[in-house]
Symmetry: C2
Subunit: 192 residues, 2 copies
């Protein structure tokens, strides 16, 4: 039962910290229906728990990413599948929103930067395929994809959208934006 307990703690920690980023270990233990001492039996410290949780989220994202990438024949398609996959895995890493302590963990920071870098590479490849508007800096494309995924995960977590719906909406928004087809002309007219 050791594994089940550890898993239950991680699960509860993720859920509780998503709601309250400063939740105490005591609160997490209660939510996991586990004694506080048991938390320390499975994790070295609070930081250790956070680290394990982050590592789990990173691994989950990597797994989803690789699965998605394997099915894609173009970078654009990979971008689409990966975006959808990450939205699906969103619950795993929503707690990261405000886990500022993790900035001190080199492994975690490195893994995060690696994932961002992979995303940037993918965006670059999609750009070469002609999918990305040439006038947008890659940094912004990456940042806004990140922002939209974040918004989608938030909306799902708040019950505003279903997961399936959110996946569709994120990709549609990336591809087409929020406005009707004629918007591009409207915008240019506005700016004149």
């Amino acid at each position: 039962m050791a594994l089940a307990t550890r898993e239950r703690i991680l699960e509860a920690a993720g859920a509780t910290l998503s709601r309250n980023p400063n939740a105490s270990l005591d609160q997490i233990a209660v939510d996991a229906r586990v004694g506080r001492a048991t938390v320390f039996r499975h994790f070295e410290s609070r930081a250790g728990l956070l680290k394990a949780l982050a590592g789990r989220a990173i691994a989950e994202t990597d797994r989803a990413t690789r699965l998605a990438a394997a099915d894609a024949r173009t970078a654009t398609e990979a971008l689409k599948l990966i975006t959808r996959a990450v939205v699906g895995a969103g619950e795993s890493f929503r707690f990261l929103d405000s886990a500022a302590e993790l900035y001190d963990e080199p492994e975690i920071v490195e893994a995060y930067q690696r994932q961002m870098s992979e995303l940037a590479d993918l965006v670059g490849a999609a750009r070469r395929e002609g999918f990305i508007r040439p006038d947008l800096p890659t940094a912004w494309v990456v940042a806004s994809i990140d922002g939209l995924i974040w918004a989608a995960c938030r909306a799902v977590g708040d019950g505003e959208l279903g997961v399936v719906q959110a996946k569709d909406l994120v990709w549609e928004t990336i591809a087409d934006g929020l406005s009707t087809e004629g918007a591009r002309e409207d915008r240019h007219a506005d700016q004149a």
Copy 2:
């Protein structure tokens, strides 16, 4: 000098908390080049400081919003101006990212919900003007605008983009998405 000191504390608090959401009052005081006791002379408590900071951000956003709305003749134009204005004021409220304590302050929560509600109304009006794609739920439109603004503020704060550039990019992305004009067809082809 009282006002200048208070202002300096608020300024330092915003900057410091943006970097480290769990920064101590001591750290904030040091960054403000002020004695820790002086912080308590100007603010009732840590919560009071946070509240003042949030109130300042809300007021700043309201001001920017009203100024922008006054110049607009259509809801679509208002949405554009307000989005740009909020990106410009982004530094003011970036610290809110992880100020979970503020969820306990009714005034702050109410003000935030009011602003979100105003944004939703504006989106609804822009939708009636034909600017917003009819197939997108308003909740998602609001969430993704929020997400894109957040991404832009983050990018500016990280030095990846300039403020002016970020304002343009957010609105362009809202209007047109990230992909080239032919994307809509590509996407439908992908899904087939």
